[in-house]
Symmetry: C2
Subunit: 324 residues, 2 copies
């Protein structure tokens, strides 16, 4: 079995080999900028690992795997425009550095680079992979739309929130694994178990991300905590608190959400104390663990020897373990 | 042979049948809005006609044909953001009506709707069509980048300008024809002749569009003339004039381009009089006819009976004839 470090290296190398155009350097400079920032390469590594569960020949999965990574980075470029985010991974976002128009256009070309990578899947599996990729890409757009819509709604139901993070985050992780398993020639049942593994893992991961934004240590989390509270972002914690809170708590929470002049630190502390009084952190952790358990049940059911799943299990554990 | 009116109807019907998502109506409303505005449906009609040259079974070309139309409309949505255009086809643009963020996201989902349509090409031709489509989509982005870059450059060479319109406009028309001919099972040589026919037609069309923006009758052209001059747009006319003009003409032209307070009508008349003194309108018309001739030479060489080409020839003539 290949280690996640090795698969990350393979992904990095393949990404750095992606073509550009001498004719339109300004178009590709932002593309190279965001793709060279590295990161975990979670999606291509998961794709290659899923392939590797069933086959030691993973070469044919490399281009589709990095196609998914290019697509993921495209969503970051355009989401940052939509969220007016100026910084990502500690450096200026593309629209902050090159302007809005350039971020729109360089993001656009990334969707076609991604499609071209996906098109390099083995011909006999191309149609299935292509359909799955297009369906997933569309779902990610729908997830982003729901996220935008939620910010304008006063009440969001918990199920609506879970559906949003499922579409915006989880389905792409699920699809990374499924595409890898298709190329590894897994039986349909295992392809679907891996999709379910990734879907539940993605939801758990996003709930933990919400917890971390409020309760994480700045040093380990890598960014300042409390940002979601300051921005009134409808995280699972806030959605659940708006559902559970009554009387004075609810009144105070609504005041804090509508208060425009409040000092950030004060707002963070005040909102956190309402979260704490209702125990929503624990509820969030419990829900996250439910999804993690469902994820590992699916992985356990995949019909390959247990020791072949070690790398995938370790990666998943390290991913969701970061909340501890 | 099917008439262009009939093929336009087929295209309209297929476009109106494109799916959406009850879950994210706000995402799809702008998509339906722009796709329902109709227009000539030039690209899908050309695609279907090219298929029809070789086969009377055109059904398999319908979804790829409308995929090209969806892609074309996606480029309009994002180009309008980049150009800050508020009106298109006489109605508000998507970002003017729904806001910038929505225009970015609804445009994005159109690229995946387009890919999904393209993926419905006949399986045996899928890979070739997909590669061509992705390559062309990337080229269109490069063309748009060159267009943006040109607006910031003081001097643009005529060849650079032709290359820009080739990428931004002509290659998609060429690809529409080639994809249709692939599905019609044309031999490679005819596929390439039709690509060249479309490429030359597209360049001629764009040069004529430049002429029309300055010299067209408002009534026939459908929009106010002189807009390009007011905006200092680097059309073929301006590029050529900057190359040819000397002495007093050049000085006066540069003054007009940098003058910010000038009345629009005055600027239009003054720039037109410099164009006229150098005869650039005639030069543009001659160049356009050169490309038209090259286009028809390619069409003539396509190895099917002459009478099968009548519809395609008529459509091309009506397209480029509108400058007269």
């Amino acid at each position: 079995m290949f280690s996640s470090d090795y698969l990350r290296e393979i992904s990095d190398r393949a990404i750095s080999g992606l073509g550009s155009s001498a004719e339109a350097q300004r178009l590709y400079d932002p593309v190279k900028y965001i793709l060279s920032q590295g990161g975990k390469r979670l999606r291509p590594v998961l794709c290659l690992m899923a392939c590797n569960l069933f086959s030691d020949m993973i070469d044919e999965a490399i281009m589709p795997a990095i196609g998914i990574e290019v697509f993921h980075n495209f969503t970051l470029v355009h989401d940052d425009i939509i969220d007016k985010a100026e910084i990502r991974r500690g450096v200026p976002t593309i629209h902050a550095k090159w302007g809005l128009e350039q971020a729109v256009l360089s993001g656009d070309v990334m969707t076609f680079i991604a499609s071209e990578c996906i098109a390099q899947a083995p011909p006999k599996q191309l149609l299935k992979i292509l359909r799955l990729f297009n369906k997933t890409a569309t779902e990610v757009c729908i997830g982003q739309q729901l996220d935008i819509d939620f910010e304008k709604k006063s009440i969001v139901q918990e199920e609506e929130y879970i559906r949003m993070i499922e579409l915006k985050t989880a389905v792409l992780i699920a699809t990374s694994l499924k595409i890898g398993s298709i190329i590894g020639e897994a039986p349909d049942s295992d392809q679907n178990l891996l999709y379910e593994f990734g879907r539940c893992l993605g939801i758990a991961f996003q709930i933990q991300d919400d917890i971390l934004d409020t309760y994480g240590e700045t040093k380990r989390f890598g960014k300042k905590t409390g940002g979601d509270i300051v921005a009134n972002k409808k995280t699972w914690l806030l959605v659940k608190t708006l559902e559970l809170a009554g009387g004075q708590d609810l009144k105070e929470l609504k005041r804090l959400l509508s208060e425009k002049e409040i000092v950030a630190e004060e707002k963070i502390e005040a909102v956190k104390s309402i979260y704490d009084s209702l125990g929503v952190r624990l509820l969030a952790e419990n829900l996250s663990y439910e999804y993690i358990n469902k994820a590992f049940e699916s992985l356990d059911s995949v019909n390959v020897k247990k020791d072949r799943k070690t790398e995938l299990r370790q990666l998943a554990t390290s991913l969701i373990g970061r909340a501890k």
